[in-house]
């Protein structure tokens, strides 16, 4: 089956929240409502004529006005594949830290989605509701921010590890470095106070976040990461 027929099959089955097939680009895709992604994927996996047994990718895409989450599924038996998309419009106010779109997790339908969803949470800050183990996967647990967002500002150091090109090497720091470090940390804590930073759940806890609602924080309280002190290009990754 090609994408047209698959889309027809899906709409014939009456799955809720199904949108239109977009065939403008090289790869057509189907837009699905957030609540509909689980039934659609379950149907695609279980229907004997579809048999989409493999989930290739879960991808978050940040555009200027929206964040999309794309799912690539395909069937080994029937040699066909389909792309599904869930779209979240960008809210009026807010930015990098306090906009966390929530999608239902499909990790129980496709175990392969488990790590992909964790990665999207890690890099893009997309929240997957109902995911069994929503921790950061690639970056350290204490990392601040989600680097693939377009308005992400680069950190200068992480936990004492310098990340700048012109940073002072650790072993060349003076003897009072530790004291300075403590002062700096205290200042940082002070700045951070009041900002509900998303902390990683304790290992072993089966349900990391209740609900997955974006933490309510006004723009003023948002944690500000020290901008990268390189040239202008480095500071703000250019959004298109």
């Amino acid at each position: 089956m090609n994408e047209q027929e698959l889309h027809g099959k899906l709409s014939g089955a009456g799955v809720a929240g199904l949108g239109e097939l977009d065939t403008t680009g090289p790869d057509p895709f189907v837009v699905v409502e957030g609540s509909g992604i689980r039934p659609v994927l379950s149907f695609l996996r279980d229907d004997p004529t579809c048999r989409m047994e493999m989930l290739h990718l879960v991808t978050g895409i940040e555009r200027e006005d929206r964040i999309e989450v794309a799912y690539h599924v395909s069937s080994l038996e029937h040699h066909h594949s389909l792309t599904l998309k869930v779209v979240f419009p960008r809210p009026e106010a807010g930015g990098h830290d306090d906009w966390r779109p929530g999608v239902p997790s499909v990790a129980d339908i496709y175990p392969a989605a488990d790590w992909h969803e964790r990665e999207q949470w890690d890099l893009l800050g997309i929240e997957f509701e109902g995911h069994p183990d929503m921790r950061r996967i690639l970056l350290p647990d204490e990392w601040i921010g989600h680097p693939l967002r377009k308005d992400y500002s680069y950190p200068s150091e992480h936990g004492g590890i310098p990340l700048e090109l012109d940073a002072v090497p650790m072993y060349e720091r003076g003897p009072d470095w530790e004291r300075e470090e403590k002062v700096r940390k205290a200042k940082k804590e002070e700045r951070k106070a009041g900002t509900p930073l998303r902390q990683p759940p304790a290992p072993g806890s089966d349900r990391p976040h209740a609900g997955g609602q974006a933490p309510a924080s006004s723009k003023g309280q948002r944690h500000v990461i020290e901008p990268h002190s390189g040239d202008d290009d480095d500071g703000k990754s250019g959004a298109h």
Binding site: P155, G159, E164, M170
Partner: protein, 177 residues
């Protein structure tokens, strides 16, 4: 050695002992089995048959930092890994040497501009003796680095008082800063 470090006058017999120790050290640099990224494959190629690092007595890769003399850092170090690299270095017994292998480890390499969590050069974390640039360096380049390290190690005084000792130490790490 401890208290005798660089304490004896720089005379013939002391120099001879130092030369002997230097010869032992330089002829038996045991690297650590430690691979991070792409460069690790070229490092493995150096151990392997075509290049055979063992010819210089450096072919006994030890898996534990306690027994190894040389840590070749082959591949990008990021914020998560840097802590481990530093700990590995701290666990090694003196004398210990560091070779920074590859562009990423020498100064960020291709990830210097957009890499939000890569450390721009491992010399920010641990002192480095030899830098071997390249992406990845050819095995010949790494061999050259190890030969340079051998020369350096062989010249190092152990017991004898070093003239301008401080300066020399600075020189050893000069490239790092």
């Amino acid at each position: 050695m401890g208290i005798l470090n660089h304490a004896l006058p720089n005379i013939g017999p002391v120099k001879a002992v130092d030369t002997a120790i230097g010869w032992g050290r330089k002829s038996s640099i045991w690297p650590m089995t430690f691979g991070i990224a792409c460069c690790a494959i070229e490092m493995m190629a150096v151990y392997a048959a075509t290049f055979d690092l063992d010819r210089f007595g450096a072919g006994v890769p030890r898996a534990t930092p306690r027994q190894s003399d040389l840590i070749i850092v082959p591949g990008t170090v990021n914020a998560k890994m840097a802590v481990r690299v530093k700990r590995l270095y701290d666990q090694m017994a003196e004398p210990r040497y560091v070779i920074a292998m590859g562009a990423c480890v020498c100064g960020g390499g291709p990830y210097v501009k957009w890499g939000y969590n890569t450390v721009k050069g491992v010399h920010k974390i641990i002192p480095v003796d030899i830098f071997v640039p390249g992406c990845p360096p050819r095995p010949e380049a790494l061999m050259d680095g190890i030969l340079k390290l051998r020369d350096q190690v062989g010249r190092d005084a152990v017991f004898a008082r070093r003239e301008q000792a401080g300066k020399e130490m600075d020189g050893r790490y000069a490239a790092a800063s």
